[in-house]
Each structure stands twice: as C-alpha cells, then as structure tokens.
Symmetry: D2
Subunit: 347 residues, 4 copies
C-alpha cells in the first residue's frame, strides 16, 4: 500500500451506489471524491445533508438539480478528471454506455451485476478470483445471488467436496423503498425459464462449477433465500461440510434455535448490531438446518441483496488499482474496516 490514497467515485447513488460510497469513505487508503446522479429527490438531498460532493451524471440534468436546491460540484466529466477509479452503479444498460467515457478519461471502472460479463470480459468475486483482476482496467462484480452462490460453492470446492449443485432461489420481489412499480402482491412469480441466469453467471467467475439454478420471486421486499441440493464428491459428515463453510470468508452461521427463524430475523439483528443501514454483508447460513445424507447435503441461507456486493466492490477497487496483491489480504483488510463477522453472526 502506498501513502497516496486511491481517488474513487460512484456513478449512480442508488441502492448499491450509496452503500459503496459509504464503504469507500471508511477505507483508510481511499478517498471518495464525489458521487454522480441524475435525480433531485430525497435520496440526493440526503446525500447533501451528509456532505457528499454531488455531480450531475448527465449535463442536461444539472440545472434541474440546481433548481431543486442541490449544490452541484460539476458534471460527470469534471468528476472523471479527478479520480483513478469509478464504481458504476447506474441502472441496467446505462453503465455500458458510459464505458467509452471512462476509457477516454483514463479512469478504471467497476461495474455491477446488472451489466453483462462481455462488457468487461472479467467478472469478480473476491474469494474466488481476486488475483485474476489485478491491474485490469475494468471488472464486473457479479450480482448478489451469484456472489452468494460463488462464495458458498467455492467453499465446498476448496474442501474438495463439490460435485454438482442444484439451487432454488427465492428472490425478494422489489426493493423496500419502491412504492410504484414492480411490486407483486400475495403471490409467487416463477421465472419463465429454467435454468435461471445465476448458474451460468457463476460460471463466468468459476467456469468449472456444475451448477443449475431455478428462480422465483416471492411477496417480500428484503433479502433472498436460497435452497441447495449439493452432490458431494464422497459421503461426508455434517462436521466436514460445516468446516468447509467455516473456513471460507464472508459466510457466517445463524441458528433457528437462537430465534433466527425467518428472513426478517436477521434484518432486526443487523439493526441491533448497529450496522449502517442495517446491512448484512455475510451469507447467513442456517447451521442447525443443514443436513447431510450420504453424498448429498441440503442447506438454506439468506442473501442481503442490497449489501452483499459492497465488500466485493471495495476489493475490486484494490485489485484493479493493484495496491494489494493478495486476495485474502484484501478481504482481511476490507472486512476488518467494515466490521464483517466471522463464524457466527451474533456471538
């Protein structure tokens, strides 16, 4: 690590963008130069209250934002001139259009999972392939569901346990702040195709995975719930499987017997632990539900979709800039700074 701080910014101050901005501010070796957006609503006004320098992502939005009382520090162009790297958290499809702009400005970029793998040619999960991202100009942090899939299946694979994995992903329907579009009510909406995209997406990070996923939206707004049937390389004990998960980073156990009986239990727990925005960055795996049956293991875990990719985004910055060469070292530093928990979430 050099003495000079990495100059970073966020484009798109939404669900992911605002969390990445928070996390960058916490890192001792990084500086958040600014955030760019196009809106003039309470979200951007809250960023003003927090004292963040605001830029207009699109020059044509600049006046509208000023008129709404938002002090604009400049346009995206002005922001790009001051930074080494940008985390693009704009809505699906917008990010791809920005790539030329970033390239021309000589700024490295981290995309999120909504963009295609082909945009950057590299997809990133710190625990699985940090080193392959070192020095690249661009990478893509895969989506929340894929990140959790790669974290957990990599844990089993590192312990030579994984043969093949079949998962059912029960997704939240829309974000908790949404009140107008995309909400579903009193129903379950299966995805129209099997397999769902998360399996192939995990293979963009670890091509060797034999993984098939099926996805469905349920009538709740916070966090995903995964169920897995995994065929192991051999008959294994329950302890062996638990040890494999325990050895991995960013997976933490929870227990039904401690009152963590549903997705909303950990949401309360995160508030109780004083987490910023109530975020859970860990994959929370029910230790006392996991069952081994010969060469099969069945388990379920929870994915806090709004936050799980935030530490990965920080590691991706480190990898692209190259300040830390070793993935486990980057993970260790990131996790310590934000307060990630190990082993159990609340013990």
């Amino acid at each position: 690590m050099t003495n000079k701080k990495i100059k970073a910014a966020v484009n798109g101050y939404g669900i992911i963008g605002k969390r990445v901005a928070d996390a960058i501010k916490l890192q001792p070796d990084m500086e958040l130069v600014g955030v760019a957006d196009v809106e003039s609503d309470y979200r951007v006004k809250a960023a003003v209250v927090l004292g963040l320098p605001i830029y207009a992502s699109l020059p044509e939005k600049s006046n509208e934002m000023k008129d709404a009382g938002i002090p604009i520090a400049g346009n995206l162009d002005d922001l790009l001139k001051q930074i080494d790297i940008i985390v693009d958290c704009t809505p699906k499809g917008i990010g791809a259009k920005n790539l030329e702009l970033y390239k021309k400005a000589g700024v490295k970029v981290i995309y999120q999972g909504d963009e295609k793998h082909s945009l950057t040619g590299h997809s990133f999960v710190a625990q699985a392939n940090y080193e392959t991202a070192l020095g690249l100009d661009a990478t893509r942090v895969v989506s929340c569901n894929t990140t959790s899939t790669v974290r957990t299946l990599t844990a089993l694979r590192n312990a030579d346990l994984l043969k093949k994995a079949r998962g059912v992903l029960i997704r939240r329907a829309t974000d908790p702040w949404e009140s107008d579009h995309s909400g579903i009510m009193n129903t379950v909406v299966p995805e129209p195709h099997i397999p769902s995209h998360q399996g192939p997406d995990a293979q963009t990070v670890v091509p060797e995975l034999d993984v098939i996923t099926m996805a469905v939206k349920a009538s709740h707004t916070q966090t995903h719930n995964h169920y897995w049937v995994v065929e192991l390389t051999h008959d294994a004990s329950r302890d062996e499987v638990l040890a494999a998960f325990n050895a991995a980073s960013r997976i933490a156990f929870i227990r039904m017997s401690d009152g963590i009986v549903a997705l909303n239990s950990t949401i309360e727990l995160m508030k109780d632990l004083g987490r910023p925005r109530g975020d859970m960055w860990e994959v929370a795996l029910w230790e006392d539900v996991l069952t081994v049956n010969g060469n099969e293991v069945y388990y379920t875990y929870q994915v806090y979709n709004e936050a799980i990719v935030v530490p990965e985004s920080i590691d991706a910055i480190c990898a692209l800039i190259g300040t830390v060469k070793d993935g486990s070292e980057s993970i260790r530093i990131t996790d310590e700074v934000i307060g990630m928990r190990k082993e159990f979430l609340y013990e």
Copy 2:
C-alpha cells in the same frame, strides 16, 4: 354401483370440510346427510343459508349454536346413526379423538392429512393406491403437498422415468380468510428441519419413492408452489417427460406464454371458468418452463391447497364403501362430475 345412495356426512365445516360437503352433494350416488361443527360464526350461518342440515360436533356447543340462531338438527351422535361414512375434517388432533366414536357407531371414516398415518394405518392418493383401500374402515387422504407430490412422481414412475426426486416446497403462509393468527409479513420462513415431512409422508402411500423435500413459508395466502429436481432412470427427451405427466390424471398443463405467469394467475382463471369457490383440483404444471437436461428434469407446479384433496376424498369414499372396484373408473366418474380438466387447464 347399487341404487342405494351412500349416506355421507362431514365433521368439521372448515376449509376442506365445506368443499368436501359441496362435492358430496354433486355426486349422483351419494347423499349429504349433514355437516357437524362447533362454531356459530358466519361460516356456519352461510351453511344455513345454503340449506345444509347442521349438527353440533360437541353436545356442549349445541345451546350456544341455537342461541346464535342456527337451527341444530341434532348432535354428532344423532348424525352418526344415519350415515355409512363420515369425512372428518376437524382440526389437527381432534379427529384422532373421534375414532372410537365412529367405530362404536359402525361408521367408516376418511381422515385428512393433518392426522397421522398411524391412526388409520392406510394413507390414500387415488391415482397411486385406490385398490388397497377397498373395503377398509378408515383411511387418510394425505395433505395437499403430499398429494401433489405423489400424483406427479407416480406419473414419472409409471413411465419408468423416476430415479430420485428432490423438491423445494414454497408454501402459502396461512389461509386467505385468516386475519388474526399465523400470518407472516414481508418475510420468508424456512422450516426448521430438512428434510421436511412431505417426503416421508409420500412414502406412506408409495414406499418405493426416493424423495427428499425442503419446505418454506412465503408471504402469500393462496396455493403452494413446488420446484423439483428429478433424476431420471435414463437420458430422456422433453416430450417423453411431458407425455408421462399427460398420461396421468389430475395434472393439467399451464403456460407462461398464455399469461399464466404467477400463482395468482390461475386463481383468476378459476373464477373465469366459473369454478365453485374458485377451486383448482388439478396440479397445474408449467409446460413451457419444464426443462430436461440429460438425465435430469426440472419443473415447477402449483398446488391449490384448499381444494386439491377434495376429489381424492370423494374417491376415498367410493373405495371404502366399495361401490367402485377400479381406481381409474372412480377417478373418471369423480372428475366428470366436478368438471376436472385434462391436458390443459383452459383449452
């Protein structure tokens, strides 16, 4: 079939009981002698509006019911004297206590899936084991989830396709009329144990099934959604698998491309088709989502938990009384009378 009608009654006029009562009334060879209950609320008052003879399940409730304006035809004892068979749809655990009463009165009994297999020693799904119930004094129609599991896995087994099946059952949280207890809100509640009870329960009907189930409650009130990963005996074509389901009774296809995109789509469809109470007795399987991959098949279907066991209960009456010796003949008659659909739900 003899000329004499089967004299039947229902004990417990709740979600299942009232539907079984409706179905008995429709059968040309059955007579609904009465329904017994303990409540005095709108549900029993609606039965009065419909003209059903009401009996008090417990003598001590008789006066309370009379005071509420419900014309009581007698107590359960009086009802038992007039009938050949009773369908016990009382809440979990109550039914077991009634068994001695039924035996003493020389009345045959059909229990529902809330009671244990050991109570009757026989569990029933018409498509799988009708003939083994012929002439018995008692059987148990298994629960909605188990019924659908047996129907679908038996279909694959009859086509020599089934090796092993692993299912994730996304259950509705509570009944649509409930407004006070057992509701869950904006969450998903995983069952605390894997495997869930439905797999072993299916084996009470077809012991040879290699089936593991995992269950979870989601935040909706109507119908269950199942996801299955089934290992086949050999690499099969999609058409082969579809043909196996099509050959079975009480499984009907639906299609995403026809706008059946979620659990609430078929709920609207049932109303559109003029079904009583909006009931769907068929397992509704998404034909255009089912995917075959070598020797694995992945599929999802919907189970209308309030209604799916109703035709099974009618068949169970036929089997115990012995009026129809052949299961497929009983199914044919029952299905024709209530208007079960074949192949596609709406074509």
Copy 3:
C-alpha cells in the same frame, strides 16, 4: 317489458367486463350477443371455454387472436351491427375514443367510472338518479368507491339525516390477478392530493352532497375499506341511523360478533354463499361498529371493487333502453336475478 330481448354486448373482457357479461347472461330480458377484446391470453381462452362469442375490439388484433387458437366471430364493427347497447369496459381513455364508433352504429353505450363525466354528461347510480337516465344514448356508471359513497350518503339523505360527510378511503393497491405492475409492498401510499376525486365524482350524481374524501392505497389486493365521519342534521339515535341504511337497497349489514372481522372475512363468506367469482355487490356495513355521538355518526364499510358496479350497469342498460321506467322496480328485478341480499349478508 316487451317480449323482445335487449341485444347487448361488452367491449373489454377485463375485471368489470367479464362480470357484466355474466350478469347480462342471467337477465331474462337481455341477450349477450358477444364480447370484444384485444388479448389472446388465458382470460379470453377461458371465455372460449365458456362458449362466449368473441370479437376483436381492434381489427389489427384479429389475426393474432386467431393464431392463438381463439375462434373470432368478427370485429367490433360486426358486433355493433347486431346490438342495441354496449357496455364499454375498456381501459381508461380507450372508451372515449370508441364513442364516435358507437354513435355511428346507432348503439347506446354504458361507460365505467374510469371515463370522465364530461364524456357522456350523465353519471349513474341506480339508487340515486335512475330516472334521469331514461332514454339517454349514453351514461357512465361511476367507480366502485363513488358508487358506495352515493349509495350510503343517499340513504342518510333520504332519511333527512345528512348534513356533511368526511371520508377516508383505504383502497386496495391493485387487482388480485396482477403480478407485474402497480403492486405496492409493505407500505401505505397516500394520494398526493386532498380532497381526492371521489367526493366531486359523487357530486356528478347528487350535486347537493357536502362531501370531502381522502384516499390512500394499502398493501392488499381485494376490496376497499371506507371510514366516515358524518355530521347529521340533528342529534339522532343509533337505531334511526341504522334504519336509514336498512331502508336503502344494496347496503347490507355485517357484524364483528359473527366473525366478520376484516376485509378477507367477507371474501371467504362470498365463496361460502356460492357467489359467482366470489362477488359481493352489496356495500357491507359493520352494524356493530357504527357509533352515534350527538349529531355525529362514525361508521366503516367494505366495497368489493370488482363487483359493486355490476348491478348498476344492468340497471343502466334498463334505463337507457327504457324497458323499466321506475328505478326501484329495475333495482328489484336486477337484485332478484343475481341474488343480492338484503338487511344482513348471511342471515
């Protein structure tokens, strides 16, 4: 009433349209010549199963519908040639565009509440202004919320009790079949303006009403709930107010003490009563919650938004065609045919 049946049709086979079609079929003096729509999904396919003649609302949709296997009897033009009157239940704004078409074909038309009052110059609630619609070429049946407001406030007004009324309307968020758009989740969405449009809309039917409404969407899909604070012309007794509601048609009492404790209680009750599609056409008013305090009365009732305007639409047909001159006679016939309940919903 003449011997010749009224030849009627429905344009737009959606939530309201399909119910109006059902109701027309039941009327002895009406004939449903056909229904027109533009979709090819399960809803139209269900109409085919029911044997309804289907027409293409737009000629350019005809081939698409045929390709989907829907037997098209013709286009809207062909339908208009055969009928006396059409009930336009197309989505908001579409109906207005159809008016010229209807006029040119010499066909009378009933619009629904989504269209503006100015389109027809007449808005209709049978209990309030049937006679003013006699012989008109077009009228508009006001929306579900407005219909219930007019029914209840007219009841108080007819008893010389009404001075002014202030209502809070807790609306369902979207229709039960919707799974994609307009759903809200785990929230309440206040309308951005007070007063909401229902107050002025009620005045298009009864201009003398002193009524202000405020509206809010809650996180449920079925039926609206209204709360009213009404200032009476004088201090009145509870019995006096109840008698006023009882004297009116299409208002029926329910009671908390009978287990009708929430909006979903009556939804179950309607199924129990065997109502088609589980419909409730009555305003269901909680008799044991209504409270009188000096010259103020407070009460709450439920509005089944999918069905409440159906009997009004039938009456509107009678009024425009002029077969029945007297509103209360039309109401009596319509109500008897569909099975509307008086006084109590379930006694």
Copy 4:
C-alpha cells in the same frame, strides 16, 4: 444540571427498550447501568456483542440465560440497587406487576403506553405537560399513536386554531421482526369499536382536547399513517396552519414532490441519513398534501411507532429526576443529542 450522572436502566430489551437504552447511552448526563430481560435469543446476544451489562428480569430465568452463553451481571434486584430510575419496557401488563418492586427499591420509573394511565396517575408527552411530571416517582409515556396525536393537536391548540379533531389511524399490523404471531395478510382489519382508545388516551395528557379516533390495521409492518379532519376555531389560511405545526417541536415536514410518496419512502430516507436502526423520532407531516377548506383542515402524517416515544422517554427521565425544570429546554437538549431534525426532514 449537576455533575453527577443520572443512573438509569431499562427493563425489557425489546422494540422500545433497546432504543431507549441506545438513547440513554448518548446522553451526557446519564449513565446506562444495565438492561434486564428474560430471553436468551439473538436479541440479547446482540446486546452482549454491544457490551451492555445484562441482568435477568426474573431470577428463575438467570440459569437459562447463563446456559445460553449470556454473561449475567445479576438479577433485577441487583440492578435496582445501583440506579435512580428505570424505564420499564416489558410487555403489556408485566410492568404493572413490577411497580411494588421499584417502589420498595426507591427507584423512579417510566412506563410505556401499554400500561394503563391509572397505574401512575400521570401520562406524559414532553411538548404538552413536561412540567407536571417534575419530581414525580412515576409517569407513563403514552403510546406512539397517542404521542403523535398530542404533538400535532397541541401544535394547533397552541396557535388557538383547534376546535375539534376526528382522526382515522391506519396502523401497521405487527412489528417487522415478527414471523409467527399477529401477522395479517392481504387484508385490512378494522378495530371492533369506534371510538378507538387513542382519543381518550390523548385526553389523559390534555383533557381539553375534543378528539375522536377510529383505528384500523393494514397489511404492512412499519409505521402508522394518520388522516385527520380538524375543525378550526376560525377560517384560516394554509400558511397559518403550517406555521402552527412548524412552531412545534418534533414535527417535521416531508413532501410528495421530493419523492416521499409512501410510508416506505421515509424508511429508506432514515437509512440514507445514517439514523441508528433507521429510526424516525419526528412526526413526518406531508406539507404539500395538507389542505385548508374554510374552517376545516385535512392532513396526513406518518408515525414511526418503534421510535417516536424514545425522545419522550429521555425527557421523562429528566422531568422525574428534576435535572431540567423547563420542558422546552429538556426537549432542546434531547433533540440536539440524538439529532432530531426541524422543519424539513431532509433539507
């Protein structure tokens, strides 16, 4: 204010208790000696992670808690010996039983709104009656709904605007962490009696209020929504009414036009502002929805039920101990410490 810190504790580490504990820790003139509870689940384990001294509320629970790995500092008796005042946040009815215990130990006590007014003979809302609580041994901070009612109606009363107020309270159904009991699904549940208890409860604080409330539970878990029709003492301008609210503490404006369009908007906003647990202590009143019509004003606001009484509880401690004699001074200090916002929530 003396140099000696007020020694305070919390009994019942639930939704309110844990927030009061957090707030006490922030106050420079208070010391949180410990928290008492009876559970051994994740909530208490999280308090251990935070480093709070834990006491067993009931001695017989002590061993169970120790066995679960919770380091118990003693029983409630031990805690009472060390403190000046306790905030009792135990479930409804439990607190009343504790009163003798507190008296015997010479410890002052703050109860919450679940307990009856008669228990303490004094009910508290800082803005309305701080001074009357000075030096008392016990008071009761009224419930969230009542607190908001008193805050807003007192604001109008202080500006000589209030004549009478009629409110409809749309309540959240259960707490966000609940997954088992009391949840309602896809419905609205009206309270069985009008008026609801909140009106009379507000009169325990300000007896002069002419206020009637009606309450209903809707299908969401976070925050209440109130609608009010208020008759003013005279025809007033909109600015006059807004000025009255603005002059009051703990009421802050929000605007639809800033994207605050629903209850879940502010929940997101609180996270964006970095609020602990995402709490909103202010009554959030929609400035651009409020409408004045002659001598009537109509408005709607949001009540964050889990947090709104927290600052009142802190003020109640100050009043009972008597460290601050003036209510507005206590409010000023409390609000500054926790970061309450004035005028607008996000500007």
